[in-house]
Symmetry: C2
Subunit: 387 residues, 2 copies
């Protein structure tokens, strides 16, 4: 396997785009990623397109990626539609990385796009719920906010985390969103506002839960030679890991733990080396759970870290400097690639008002999706290094 | 890239399985493919699952493969859901082949499964129609039988093919289906019966059009060393090609032509070397069109070949000895892998009543899917060699 690099990456501002098709949402990200890469688009050898819900929301199923690429004017090469619930974009990124790493092509395009707004919130939520195993979790009537809230609730019991600590994760992510022009929400909020907003799934209130969103993102992955020609700081994909739910028994490791351990091993780094993380805050306080599962802190330490503001962009371990799913938004298929975008931009020092200083060298993405056998169905972890 | 082999392959009899879930449909094929391979299932490194319409028909979206593999009791490793309309199964096969060829894993599992029967034919047909670009072909109200019928109609004009010649393709495929225990339809029919059956899309009648179906199929792809340990004839994947619609201009090559030319080149064979073909007869007379597009005969020769019975299993160039989509059935996500199964079984001499004699050495699969920009969106071509 050879080294791969993120050459160019782009996303549009996540939001509500009633008048745009999925193809239109992906058009700018695709062409901006090509421009950012300074490659000839004719050299693209494979395309992987991540989308989770178009069939249920827009009606377009099973050739979604071909329709997106028809709109972008790129075809002839293999176009592969991939789905892995909220980790669909990360799965496209993973396959594009593997295709270049293994020499199948020198240049691969990963695209993620999703339209969740359709004029009927019930339809959108019902579509999202199909990312659980309908024969088990589905029959229990579980929605994802509920699944995540149960994990947060258990964390409160275990470590006596306070409601204020939970709320601080939302305050932080909205602070970051206010500094990110690509963020769906760019308005700060206070602990009081978070706690007083409507309860969605106890203990998670409205301002802690990621919104519905429309959006697109795209990344071009290529070789070291291509990265060195660009004139920008080369960003190497140290590793990209895709882990699945298992049958670990009640006390076995969660999918998150497996994915992170494998990623650290493959990248030959320790959790303490990571300087910036984008993680899957479908509800913002789940950060306190994920920090521990990903090995970024010891048991129960995450509460103190948020109280001490260590995970703000100017803290010791910045988390979700993009605003995270909570503020930046979560158009499922686009999310994974947008998370990689934030890390690439931080490693290149292009984040302006929310830029970590000094510019970091090593960043990580965690993107989760679906629920099967009582666990997160898919967890992707990518580790990226600025050279 | 190293050589890859189809180690084990399996499918269930396609048909109508009202009481079975998608996971249950895939269970036997997965475990029979493992048994056929004589491998330890713990050695499987990656799983690719092809399914096109579960979200629209069963409700289960975006973690379909994880639910299928939960049912099969296999997880922990990367599970990737792929969609490419009626070529979804072939896309899973293509990625599994590439994963082994490029050294990502030594053993990859490709699974295809689909439930098309849901008690409402309108729902099923509507789901199938979403494999066209809804913003263009969809607005014209095109269903796939119509798209294929237009191609057949143009062929009749160009070469003065007769209705009897069209009907013979259905007679042949039903003859083959009657000899295949995995075929949905196992009943022969006559030219008269084909022509007198209900008109679906002129000139295609009911007995020329593939039925709705439920089914599953699975293949294990591994290394030469594994294939040689099995004690069965090793079946090498000479190449697996995935081509997409292009913007070729009115007179440019169809996706089929591009895919076949690339496959012959990569496998270093000429069309005349191919001894058995499974092709995508969504309507049986499209064989007469595809034979020409795939370079298996000269312009207009396919009509004479069917009249001379050259494409029956005991003819000069056997086509769709499984019964094809017309008789064997077409549960979209499962079709591509089931086509590979027929070729593997022919190359191994395991086809009993429909076995080609002498046992052939080189076979080909063509599997098409979707319609975008006025062309077939995806065409997969695999060339397999018995060693």
């Amino acid at each position: 396997m050879r080294d791969t690099y993120v050459l160019g990456i782009s996303m549009n501002r996540f939001g509500k785009y009633d008048d745009m098709t999925l193809g239109q949402l992906a058009y700018d990200p695709v062409w901006n990623a090509i421009e950012d890469s300074m490659v000839d688009p004719h050299d693209i050898g494979m395309v992987f397109v991540g989308n989770a819900y178009a069939g249920l929301i827009t009606g377009q199923e099973s050739v979604t990626g071909q329709v997106i690429m028809r709109e972008a004017g790129i075809s002839g090469i293999p176009i592969i539609n991939v789905e892995n619930a909220c980790a669909s974009g990360s799965t496209a990124f993973y396959l594009a990385h593997k295709a270049v790493a293994s020499g199948q092509t020198d240049l691969a395009l990963a695209v993620g796009a999703e339209k969740l707004f359709c004029g009927n919130t019930g339809t959108s939520l019902k579509a999202l719920a199909t990312s659980s195993d309908l024969s088990i979790e589905g029959r229990m009537g579980m929605l994802f906010a509920g699944i995540y809230a149960m994990r947060v609730r258990a964390l409160m019991d275990r470590y006596a985390f306070t409601h204020e600590q939970l709320a601080l994760t939302s305050v932080k992510n909205h602070d970051h969103g206010a500094l990110n022009p690509y963020s769906q929400y760019q308005k700060r909020c206070t602990v009081e506002e978070v706690l007083e907003s409507r309860m969605i799934a106890y203990p998670c209130t409205l301002l802690m839960v990621c919104p519905l969103g429309d959006g697109g993102a795209a990344a071009l992955i290529g070789t070291k030679e291509m990265a060195e020609r660009m004139g920008k700081r080369p960003v190497k994909v140290e590793t990209s890991v895709l882990a699945s739910f298992g049958f670990p028994g009640k006390d076995g490791p969660a999918t998150y733990v497996k994915a992170a351990k494998q990623a650290y091993k493959e990248a030959d780094v320790s959790p303490g080396d990571i300087q910036v993380v984008e993680m899957h805050d479908a509800v913002s306080p789940i950060e306190l759970y994920l920090m521990e599962k990903l090995g970024l802190c010891g048991p129960g330490e995450s509460g103190r870290m948020i109280s001490d503001r260590e995970t703000w962009f100017d803290g010791r371990l910045p988390i979700n400097t993009s605003g995270g799913l909570t503020a930046k938004g979560h158009p499922a298929g686009a999310t994974g690639i947008s998370q990689v975008a934030e890390i690439v931009w931080q490693l290149r020092g292009e984040c302006e008002g929310r830029q970590i200083k000094p510019v970091p060298d090593l960043g990580m993405v965690e993107n989760g999706g679906g629920n099967v056998a009582g666990q997160t169905a898919v967890v992707a972890v990518h580790i990226l290094r600025g050279e």
